[in-house]
Assembly symmetry: C2
Homo-oligomer: 141 residues x 2
Amino acid sequence: TNNRALLDMPIKDFIISSEKVAHVQSGNSAEHALLVLTKTGYSSIPVLDVKYRLKGLLSTKMITESILGLERIEYDKLADIRVDEVMNQEVVYLKVSDTFQRALDLVINHAFLCVVDDEGTFVGIMTRRIILKQLKKYIYQ
Amino acid sequence: TNNRALLDMPIKDFIISSEKVAHVQSGNSAEHALLVLTKTGYSSIPVLDVKYRLKGLLSTKMITESILGLERIEYDKLADIRVDEVMNQEVVYLKVSDTFQRALDLVINHAFLCVVDDEGTFVGIMTRRIILKQLKKYIYQ
Ligand SMILES: Nc1ncnc2c1ncn2[C@@H]1O[C@@H]2COP(=O)(O)O[C@H]3[C@@H](O)[C@H](n4cnc5c(N)ncnc54)O[C@@H]3COP(=O)(O)O[C@H]2[C@H]1O
Ligand SMILES: Nc1ncnc2c1ncn2[C@@H]1O[C@@H]2COP(=O)(O)O[C@H]3[C@@H](O)[C@H](n4cnc5c(N)ncnc54)O[C@@H]3COP(=O)(O)O[C@H]2[C@H]1O
């Protein structure tokens, strides 16, 4: 494959599909979300609504930052905070029709990217790991 | 640059040097470490000893997992746990003399890599972001 062929590749073969993506629901408590993050082991995951639309991104850092008191981290407050209050609502995302080039440009600054279809429904994620594997394959041939 | 030239590049120009790397000291409490992780915003950082030797890697996930009780996350226990008890001591690292190829092979499975000199002193890190920037530059020319 030459450079242009790789850059023009559609991303669909590289997407981790939604059923394999750990996420939380809009409306969940930050306490529940922190358990999901800890048990799945991911540092940042999507927040979806009941129709599987993308609402935001939530990370352990955002949760801990929100309860960083003057003297200690105030974990007792977590049950009363909803994910919607602490998540990042400005999500940079990809469309299913985007190319590898678009994904490469964006993962410079994002560890993973959410992918949505034309209706705005969340369909999966593109990770740096997958992009790096493709680049390595390309560069080693 | 052709493929071989990029892969053979020494990593030294791409290292984020140690003074810019957030870290904790061996012997610190997990409570102190969680504050450092939260304030710096990184999900995983190196653990160094007083001589700046690399002892392990510590992530927020490792800390939270260690206090995941049956009913709730037991944050009151953090002051009594040392980072050495929860960190990952099997650190995959690079030597200053390694090439870009070695770094590329390893970042497939690691978001960042610690770099040590011949004495085993920590000198900095190589991140996926830096590697992706180089690959993008190479692929766009
Ligand atoms: N259970 C596991 N098994 C094997 N390796 C693991 C792992 N958890 C993490 N890693 C490794 O650590 C990297 C960073 O993970 P992190 O959770 O910070 O950052 C992740 C996480 O925020 C998100 N992510 C990846 N897969 C996910 C999934 N199935 N569900 C939800 N979020 C996911 O995308 C980011 C980048 O993922 P990427 O694969 O490039 O990079 C991952 C992967 O190389
Ligand atoms: N303060 C900040 N400003 C701008 N962007 C930020 C940022 N904090 C995080 N990011 C972005 O998020 C990515 C994942 O960060 P994370 O903390 O999970 O994972 C980081 C962290 O574990 C470690 N790391 C990076 N820089 C570090 C530093 N100066 N000190 C300690 N650890 C660092 O290397 C991993 C990969 O870093 P990478 O740069 O490839 O990828 C970073 C970067 O693209």
